[in-house]
Amino acid sequence: MLNLYLFQILNGLGLGMIYFLIAVGLTIIFGLLNFVNFAHGAFFLLGAYICYTAVSLTGNFWLALLIAPLVVAALAWVIERLLIQRIYHLPHMFQILVTLGIALIIQEASVMIWGPVGKSVAVPELLRGVLVVGDFVYPYYRLFLIVFSGLVGLGLWLLLERTRFGALVRAGSESTETVSLLGTNIFRLFSMTFALGVALAGVAGVLFAPLRGAQPFVGPEILGVAFVVVVIGGMGSFSGALVGGLLVGVVQSLMTTLWPQGASLMIYGAMAVVILIRPYGLFGRA
Amino acid sequence: MSILLETQDLELAYGAFHAVNGVNLKVEAGTIHTIIGPNGAGKTSLFHCLTGERQATAGAIHFDGKNLMRKPAHGRVGLGMARSFQLTSLFQNLSVRENLRLAAQGRDGARALNFWRRVDSQREHLEMADQVLERLQLTARADTLAGELSHGQQRVLEVGMSICSKPKLLMLDEPTSGMGIDDIPIMTQLISDLGRDHTVLLIEHNMSIVMSISQRITVMSHGQILVEGTPEFVRADERVRTAYLGEAA
């Protein structure tokens, strides 16, 4: 019994870390760019698909783990330049509608390229198999997931806290005007930030691929969870994305064994409650 | 003379900081009463408490004999209070006449929820709008979109909207804010004119206007009333002179 709960909690942590990566990307984009990205889930699934293709071509998951986020980032950069830059000044409503359109395009394009049925991605050879501790058994890959996501999160934190780029992103979240006065090319900063945020979703997609494959229609579900995490954790907050992601992941995992629909109900109900009671979430600024 | 608006030990605290720190304001009916003071003196915060934009943290507000403390902003209109904004706040994409008509309709309260009657069956609001247009000398611009007016005209419309609900008290927040030197006399004239049939409480920075049209001046500093009295009295007061008026006196 205890093993079952431990199993689910670890699953929840893994899922939570994936949610963290997606959410932190979303929150960075919102924090600096004040931009609501409804296409975030679509970039997640794109990451999974590009991973699939990369693995099919090279047979190497690790290469895919490197390539896929870069490809997603590059695509995001192009979209940002062509489209997103035009709509920063528009109210959130319009940003939602445009990114909704982008999400639709990406979703349908994915089906066109890879077909309507999902593609499975094999767990890399190195990580196949299970860890055995007494009578507790846990897949290596899922452990890797937690650790690797943690490392990415740490890297991101260092990037934000210790590098000039990160300082600009954080300062820009407070006031883009000041940052541009400091001589920074604000448009390039925006593009890079958008690409970074989306790339994180792409990484999450890659990590998720060996678990459930690449699916064309998961975009809305992932987007929904991402927003739940961001709202609960606090818009624009790094630690909020982490804590929120883990909370949601663990709750979802535990509830899935008992009552799957209840999990979704609880999660969206929690989001509604947070917005009504404390809209800036756990760690967000008012 | 009767007191129309009165506050007792009014306080607005943000944590440890008291923006309004024990204010006992008395506004006599039928007067033009101006609040002045340096930036951060608490004028705007006091205004927010009076208009209902902020909930005062302590003290009392009485208007026309009624206790205002729990009344939300929209509820104060029905009692006979009206306000204008320092940062122009109009219905940009609606015509000038419609802006005024809506302001006149605002006093209807719950009756405005009627979704079946035709708007123009309510002649009284349209007539009020037209009357105010005359008073503002904007009749020629009745069908212009509010957003297309010049800044000076928009400030005048700002004030105009506040009279549409036939209020007893007009609360004007820096009505001449941002107005050019040519437009200011228009506003001054308007406010003096309004003072004949309304009680006017205003915040102003422009000292020449303050001195010329006010019947009573309250000087605030650090969230409290420093000095209060007629323009001559205030002008002569040493504390005010040194702290605030300087060469403009």
Partner: protein
């Protein structure tokens, strides 16, 4: 008082607009291959119209319209299947269901503004979906409700008109649409309607001149929900089936897309939007299963380049034609 109507949407335009609507209602079944398709257009035009009351007139972006659409469909279907209630009772029930849910959703959602308001409607939409999924004893869960009847129009025990024929049903829906359209125009031309637009323009100012904006927003939600519920009920009767997808987020998104593409500036836009999207889908979905991609492109183009939607485009075309004629007149008068 001058001739020109003080409201933003000129009266003279409206009278002509009514004729246009009549023309469309009469013309649709004649032009289109099937009356069922024409009925589908009107049903979604109703939903888009209700959505536009929130979006175009009050400035509220609601991702929750699917809640009311699905609830209306389920309610009507259940009333007809289990209680054998007739046509108008089922529609009334759907309107009440939609209106009541809208009251709940609206009262909670309007406690926040901007992006948080949108998020709330989104959260409620998801919750409604999962509730509908879970209550599969009532809703049929993933399978939906089957064998939904299409009752006749009857007075007491006498059958006045059977709606089994697709054209007869279209006629019925068309009459309902016309009534709702006229009603909506009335609402917009009322003190309530003018206040909605004030709230859209500047909510703080609206509050400052005496309107309790919460009451207005809740009431428009209720009206929107009731109409959307009716649309959902009609859809159930059209398909004889209530799928779970009626209440999912994609339905809310589709309704929003139709509202925006059609143009939020006028009620007629909702008819245009529903018509174009439904026809596009019907036409393309056989040719190209991935036609949703085109929808995404259209959405982006409309928002960036043609925010007034199809209606806005038509309106500016009219303006240009009228304007150039006016310029000729002015030029003549000034002796140029």
């Amino acid at each position: 008082m001058s001739e020109k109507n003080p409201l933003p949407f000129a009266k003279t335009q409206s009278r002509a607009m009514l004729l246009w609507v009549l023309a469309v209602l009469i013309g649709l079944p004649l032009i289109l291959p099937s009356a069922t398709l024409a009925t589908e257009i009107l049903i979604f035009a109703m939903a888009a119209l209700a959505c536009n009351l929130l979006l175009g007139y009050t400035g509220l972006l609601s991702f929750g319209q699917g809640i009311f659409f699905g609830a209306g469909a389920y309610c009507a279907a259940l009333l007809m299947i289990h209680l054998q209630l007739g046509l108008f009772t089922a529609l009334l029930g759907a309107a009440i269901a939609g209106g009541f849910l809208a009251l709940l959703v609206g009262a909670l959602a309007i406690r926040r503004t901007g992006i948080y308001f949108v998020m709330l409607t989104l959260a409620f939409s998801q919750m409604a979906y999962f509730v509908a999924y879970t209550l599969s004893d009532w809703t049929g869960g993933d399978n939906g409700l089957l064998s939904v009847p299409r009752p006749e129009i009857r007075l007491g025990d006498t059958v006045l008109l059977s709606l089994a024929d697709a054209r007869a049903f279209y006629g019925f829906v068309a009459v309902l649409f016309l009534l709702i359209f006229i009603g909506a125009r009335r609402v917009i031309a009322s003190p309530f309607g003018s206040t909605l637009m004030a709230i859209r323009e500047n909510e703080t100012r609206a509050s400052a001149i005496g309107y309790d904006t919460r009451h207005f927003k809740i009431l428009v939600f209720v009206l929107s929900g009731a109409v959307t519920g009716i649309a959902g009920a009609l859809y159930a009767m059209l398909l004889h089936f209530v799928p779970l997808s009626n209440i999912d987020l994609a339905m809310s998104e589709n309704i929003l897309i139709m509202t925006i593409v059609g143009g939020t500036g006028s009620l007629f836009g909702s008819l245009l939007g529903a018509g174009s999207i439904v026809l596009l889908g019907d036409f393309l979905s056989d040719l190209w299963p991935r036609w949703l991609m085109l929808l995404g492109v259209i959405l982006i183009l409309v928002v960036i380049f043609m925010r007034g939607g199809l209606w806005g485009g038509l309106a500016s075309l009219f303006e240009k034609v009228r304007g150039s004629r006016k310029n000729v007149v002015i030029a003549k008068e000034e002796g140029l």
